[in-house]
Symmetry: C2
């Protein structure tokens, strides 16, 4: 008997009708003779609504209480899902992160899963019940406090539970059919990938592909759990994320990200240690810096540009302005109208000239490149945000021959 972990995101359980559809699908999986462990997110916009309420009562809510508040979201969806599965004639039981033994670090709002002590989950699975576990949450054994796992937390819960119980597969069930060569809303002929390597999936996730968070991919790789990204609403296969794929595509996909802002410090005196100080301070303020570009020094001074999530750009700007005035830089500016487009593919390691083709394709579409950053399997360019969709389309067209995958049915 196989153990299948299925994770359903908020869109998949956004209302009673969708909950019932998902319950029916889970029940089918159980009736096929599998053990089923389900991880569920909060319904639709519940988490956003709760955050909005918190904002109304406090400008600086304590992180412990924020976690108390937000964990109510999955509590609601998991109980409703258990009821809906029960209505399908099957036994089901829901557990909070704490009840499921998801032990985490103490960091409220961004806790890390340290261990899973899933006695109650195992017992219920052994009794033949469908087990529903609240995603995104756990408990710190040292403080006995409820914690949340931060962005992508429900996927992390699912992969961690799959690892802890030796699941045969962790299915990430979502409102799209799998991982695509580009966002099908922008590129209508984007293709669904049948499989993708963890390495490429990590780069796509980092480049803005929202379908699966990087931390879950890493977790799956570490514990050797096959991840299957597929639709919540039908049974067609989606995309398998595997350590090694059968065939190494030159290019696996094009991702884009419109959530960042660019900060530039002008006229930085060319002394050692300034960049180190700046980015140490960013880390100290919990700002994740993505791309960093420093031009060659001219006349003893240089410019440093970097991108940060727009949600933390106010903090980043404040820290940068403070430092700029201390070191006597010429000035600081921030640009929120940027976007990043990235080409990802493990095969580009062995195929020289990919970068040049990227720059040529963008140039042929009159798209100006403002920053460039590369890894061995990724090329990212910052462009004006109003040109990013054109950039995705132009790169998809330029690399169409190399893109593996089936035609999208969208």
């Amino acid at each position: 008997m196989a153990l299948i972990v299925q994770k359903y995101g908020g869109t998949s359980v956004a209302d009673a009708d969708r909950l019932k559809r998902v319950a029916h699908r889970i029940a089918d999986t159980r009736r096929e003779g599998n053990q089923v462990l389900v991880v569920v997110s909060a319904m639709g916009k519940t988490t956003d609504d709760l955050i909005a309420l918190a904002d109304q009562v406090s400008s600086n809510p304590p992180a412990r209480e924020m976690d108390m508040l937000l964990t109510a979201g999955e509590r609601i969806s998991m109980a409703l899902l258990a009821m809906a599965i029960h209505a399908e004639g099957l036994e089901a039981v829901s557990f909070t992160g704490s009840q499921a033994g998801i032990l985490t670090s103490e960091a409220h709002g961004e806790a890390k899963i340290e261990e899973i002590r899933g006695f109650r989950v195992q017992e219920s699975l052994d009794e033949g019940k469908v087990v529903i576990v609240a995603g995104f949450q756990g408990v710190s054994p040292r403080t006995k406090e409820v914690t949340t796992l931060g962005r992508g937390g429900s996927d992390a819960s699912a992969v961690a539970l799959a690892a802890a119980f030796g699941a045969d597969v962790c299915e990430i069930c979502t409102d799209v059919d799998g991982v695509f060569t580009a966002d099908p809303r922008i590129v209508p002929n984007a293709r669904k990938l049948d499989e993708i390597s963890t390495e490429e999936m990590l780069e796509l996730a980092a480049a803005g592909a929202g379908v699966l968070m990087a931390r879950s991919v890493e977790f799956g790789r570490r514990f050797n759990i096959p991840i299957h990204v597929r639709s919540s609403f039908h049974d067609a296969p989606g995309t398998w994320v595997k350590e090694k794929t059968m065939e190494e595509a030159i290019i696996s996909g094009i991702a884009h990200d419109t959530s960042e802002a660019k900060i530039t410090v002008h006229g930085v005196p060319d002394r050692p240690g300034i960049a180190a100080t700046l980015f140490e301070q960013m880390a100290g303020h919990q700002v994740n810096v993505d791309m960093i570009v420093q031009n060659v020094s001219i006349d003893g001074s240089t410019d440093i540009s970097f991108t940060v999530p727009r949600s933390t750009s106010a903090t980043a700007l404040e820290v940068t302005e403070q430092l700029a005035s201390e070191i006597g830089a010429a000035g600081v500016d921030i640009d929120t109208d940027i976007a990043k487009v990235s080409l990802v593919g493990a095969g580009m390691k062995s195929h020289p000239g990919v970068a040049a083709r990227v720059f040529r394709a963008l140039s042929d579409s009159d798209i100006n490149i403002e920053m460039i950053s590369t890894s061995t399997i990724r090329i990212s360019c910052v462009v004006r945000s109003d040109r990013v969709e054109d950039a995705v389309r132009s790169l998809h067209a330029a690399f169409e021959a190399e893109l593996v995958g089936e035609e999208a049915d969208v």
Copy 2:
């Protein structure tokens, strides 16, 4: 330093603005040098909304999952209230029923509080923090499952916590100013009572006065906790519920209840044991029967009428019809257009003629009495539901001289 327990109902925390007002009031109580333990209900209509969602996904949701679902309501309000108190510059921490050590029986949806092991609550109070506890919920130590306490559960949580921690007072903070001689929406010159005996409060609660549930009054009496029913929104004193009151009023108040239905069995053969069987079966189906009237037997058969909560009247009717056909009764009918009006007062024990004055007052207002039931300190009459407000006003006018209390400011 006094320990004050304050309970806030759903209406008092219905939105962010009300939450902030309540937080300010709690902060004031703490700043006056008291220890403060707050019990909070779910915001506004949250519980009803969650029940409606459950109804949409299942016609018969498992009670365990229903408790899981509903306990999300207080989790949200308690965390937001802790944030709002924090915004007032004070330390506050919220606990679920389980975290607060509220140990209950196993009966989901109607658990009874058995013991309170409030280590975490005590520790936080000792540290000077305002402690917020989720009302209405607890945990069964035997099954390790989350439970809810049923109707009036948050009041019960508050009084039980007050007893466990030896509080100086349990304040039931609500959207009215205290206990009134009648519903001020119906009787504009109803008066607020400064104090009322537990015995009278119990009868008023049983007669439909919604301000405080009977189980909390009983709890307060058993553990000798003074209960103060007062407004959530201002500091004027409300009504003290005490074991003994200074002066025994002849009449303390008039309550009414429109939530019941009347079932009548006609032509019941006059044999022993039939009433016992009927009401045993009602109890077996969890139907709480309120008033029971059986007329004297005429020609070997009689009629039995009784009232039940309208929410369980379908079950009650089914049970009654089944039994009626078994025993050869003439027929069964149900009447949902009834209401009950009750006069309550400890002094009526020593003042004969109160019942006669009640019947006269109703008769003078052309209100027909359909059933009568009395205790030593209460007289209840069933009337047509469309006449109940007239009945309340007519009784209030007839007994105005005997009603103690101050003029309502409404």
